[in-house]
């Protein structure tokens, strides 16, 4: 019975198609959980919407671009101050959010005029900024506002600006994933190839699917600089709008997050013949392997080996210090999707940690295939897990640390399980060699937290015992 019907799901038995317990000798030909399917209403799922998949995850990372959200105020308010993706220009992307602040009259009579005015105002208020993403939201999609026509009009009137339209209302698809898709595909079809980059190295690549969480991109950039590789575009960590228009000029696409950004790599291969190389940027052996592959592609293997040797010399002793102390730790990963397969084996190989349960919010079956291939037997694989399922799984596998978002982190705190922010990190970056030491340190500090022991102590029981002892 490898597909599991949890006790809490007895009234929604279809959930058993989403929860898999791997058994020795089984593989993905036998069982592959359903994923990227509609959520059952009222289950307290962890999923967000397509709009946030586009704006919050990908577009909003760009450091030189206004993010104009055409809709009521909430879509803007809610996708602001929820991410940790700094930039090297003072975090313009995290400081601001823009909304057309749709009101009832615009719903009734159409919001295109409102959008046009808001776009012009935004450019006027921030005269140094010349690039913009415009997003539809649920109500503006439902009333059928033509945001592309508005953008075109503004671009005609303001020749120095460029605007990209992303039409992915929150109800599109079943999760954030739809927003990733819409943004990827529209970007390559509309914007890639419209800017020619300045080429400064004979080795050029795009780095795709890394969003500079706590400086991931900037850390990895030091490696590429040392290797003499020019990154034409970062999709989209610490990236700029125009860099992304020049993606067609790179020789290689290196993909980290295949879920959010695999589409554009596929299209770049199909439309421009640029090969796609998938790597894992988390973990020592993975990172080294990725660097080796990139260097082999360019024929600069010696440079790669030198860098890996230097990094190992610097960071491996620290990693090993943590490995010694984390060996055998039971970990759960409840994040978006790809981090499940990026991390399950790397924490095992590099830190001796055992991943006992994993839940993906928006992974597709491709992600589930990867994670089941990489993960161990006796581990639970959950698609679109919900709150009651989490409680039950915790009882079943007793994780000692959970990598998840802050809200779920607050929930499991009450169960005396420490959490580490699996999305925005605790104290990152987590990518690269130095980054994985950071991850190990945060996991160790979480597990070693003395408060957990204090929380578990019932002082009434303790007092009684102490009194009894004193009496004897």
């Amino acid at each position: 019975m490898p597909m599991v019907l949890l006790e809490c799901d007895k009234d929604i038995p279809e959930r058993s198609k989403h929860i898999y317990l791997k058994v020795e000798g089984e593989d993905q030909r036998d069982f592959l959980p359903i994923s990227n399917a509609a959520t059952i209403p009222g289950t307290l799922s962890e999923r967000g919407c397509a709009f946030c998949g586009a704006k919050l995850v990908i577009g909003g990372v760009l450091k030189d671009t206004i993010q104009m959200i055409h809709g009521p105020i909430g879509c803007a308010y809610d996708t602001w101050h929820t991410k940790r993706y700094p930039t090297d220009n003072g975090h313009f992307n995290m400081k601001y959010v823009w909304s057309t602040d749709m009101k009832e009259s615009h719903i009734v009579f159409g919001g295109e005029k409102r959008l046009e005015k808001s776009i012009n105002e935004a450019f006027d208020e921030m005269p140094d900024i010349k690039r913009m993403f415009v997003y539809t939201t649920c109500p503006t999609a439902l009333i059928g506002d033509d945001i592309k026509a508005v953008a075109k009009k503004v671009m005609q009137e303001r020749p120095d600006v460029d605007i990209f339209c992303c039409e992915c209302p929150g109800f599109a698809g079943v999760s954030q994933s739809k927003g990733h898709h819409v943004l990827n595909i529209n970007w390559i079809n509309e914007k890639v190839g419209t800017v020619e980059p300045e080429i400064t190295s004979e080795y050029t690549m795009n780095f795709i699917g890394d969003f500079n969480i706590q400086g991931d991109t900037q850390l990895l950039d030091q490696y590429w600089k040392r290797l003499g590789i020019q990154v034409v575009a970062h999709f989209t960590g610490n990236g700029t709008y125009d860099d992304l228009r020049a993606m067609h000029k790179a020789q290689l696409n290196v993909v980290n997050c295949a879920r959010s950004s695999g589409y554009i790599a596929n299209e770049l291969k199909k439309q421009y013949g640029i090969p796609r190389l998938d790597i894992d940027s988390w973990g020592f052996s993975y990172m080294a392997e990725g660097i080796r592959k990139i260097c082999s592609f360019f024929g600069i293997e010696e440079r790669g080996e030198k860098l890996i040797a230097e990094e190992y010399a610097k960071w491996k002793p620290q990693l090993d210090w943590y490995k010694e102390r984390l060996q055998g730790t039971k970990m759960a990963i409840w994040t978006g999707g790809p981090r499940l397969w990026h991390w399950t084996k790397s924490v095992e190989d590099d830190l001796g940690v055992q991943v006992v349960a994993m839940s993906s919010k928006f992974g597709h079956q491709e992600d589930v295939e990867k994670v089941i291939a990489r993960g161990g037997a006796g581990t639970y694989y959950i698609d679109d897990g919900n709150e009651l399922e989490f409680f039950e799984i915790i009882d079943l596998v007793k994780p000692e640390v959970i990598f998840t978002g802050p809200r779920v982190g607050e929930l499991v705190k009450k169960l005396h399980i420490p959490y580490v922010n699996g999305h925005g990190y605790h104290n990152g970056p987590y990518m690269g060699f130095e980054g994985f030491v950071n991850l190990a340190r945060d996991m160790y500090n979480a597990k070693a937290n003395p408060l957990l022991k204090l929380a578990a102590t019932d002082i009434r029981g303790g007092n009684k015992a102490a009194l009894k002892e004193a009496a004897e």
Binding site: C8, D11, I12, A38, I40, P41, G42, T43, L44, S45, G48, C49, F51, C52, G71, P72, I73, G74, Y77, D78, H81, K95, W98, S99, T100, D101, K103, E104, H106, I107, R114, K117, S118, I119, E121, A122, E125, C138, P139, L142, P169, G170, F171, A172, G173, V174, S175, E387, P406, R407, E410, L411, K413, K414, L415, H416, L451, A455, A456, D458
Partner: protein, 462 residues
Amino acid sequence: MGCEITTRERAGVINPMYDCQPAGAQYAGIGLKDSIPLVHGGQGCSMFVRLLFAQHFKENFDVASTSLHEDSAVFGGHMRIQEGILTLVRRYPQLRIIPVITTCSTEVIGDDVEGNIKYALDQIAKEFPGREVNVFAVHTPSFKSSQVGGYSECVLSTWKAIAKEKAPATGKLNIFPGWVNPGDVVLLKHYLKEFGVQGDIFMDTEDFDSPMLPDKSIHTHGRTTVEDIKASTGALASLSLARYEAASTVDFLKNTHGVPGHQIAAPYGIANTDAMLQKISEITGKPIPDSLVHERGVAIDALQDLAHMFFANKKVAIFGHPDLVIGLADFCTEVELEPTLLLLGDDNTRYKKDPRLLAMKEKVPYDMEVVCNADLWELEKRVKDGSKKYDLILGHSKGRYVAIDANIPMARVGFPTFDRAGLYRHPTMGYRGAMLLGEQIANAMFTHMEYTRDREWLLNTW
């Protein structure tokens, strides 16, 4: 000299001050015990609001979604309402209240929420005979009002749905504080206790600050029960402490059940708190207890050390919920701070006629500006272009970068305050709230003096 009340002129918003209506409704909904609000809309409409609550309180709150997908947008989402309600009722046996909160998308689609709730209730009656689950619609299209109105709307809808009958007289007071922190709820309860007056705080959010316990039990939820709501119709009187968040429900109790209602100024600052206590005394016939006179004295004593030495002539910009902003302006004037910019963040046209603002307009002895329907860009622009100088910013965490970039001391107050630890635990209301806020402001200024080497030696001997 004088006070000018203006409105944002731009169509678009840069850095909003408030979230949308459904967010406010969700905040009210989690204040109920054995309640899981069900948001009828896209998943983001509840997901991010839950995250926002988690950021502010460092706690998890349960809010469900009907997970509106494309087919529902085309064909209507009614089945998802029924399915959502039934799934919740089946999987959460203790559940007694489900506010069904609409959003922009489902209001545009025009789903028959009431009809679907009725169908679901029939189904519940069949499946769970004898089980009472209060399921009701809260209409909060995001393109109207803001989180402020959404909060008010959800409280009102809850009362309309549950407080249907006139209860026997309880002799208790209903206190509707509006959107406040657990620290404020604890303070109000303390006041009632000192008075020897029985009363209920609606919503009772005291447990939004909840413990880690040895038995691992989870107590993070509202405390306002179905019984409390039903009994509120038999109360001695209702007090609304927030004109824009609580008045509508107090009016409902008055008009439908004859419970005398009193709208008073939100008790921020000494005088507003005095007025509240005098009102409670007047309604209940009980004298203001000595202990509160003592607390009042302690607060004034503490503020006295700060006002004319550190606060006097300092220009303050304030933003946040309307009742809070207006209340804080009163507080500022009590301690010689000069509130020269007030920002109110939605298109409610009643703000301009608010008697408290009109009174300020009459008496303010320096230039003061009130911007309605404001965003935080209104603040940032004024700070950046140098046309106005501010010595202090009072507001929530969404404005943090204005203060950081311009290097202006900022005291976090209101909702959300995720970039400071534990603020939700402390009252802002009452004497104690005034004292704590005054001290928080002073300490923010002191730290700023030290980091900018601006007469930091002044504190060498203070």
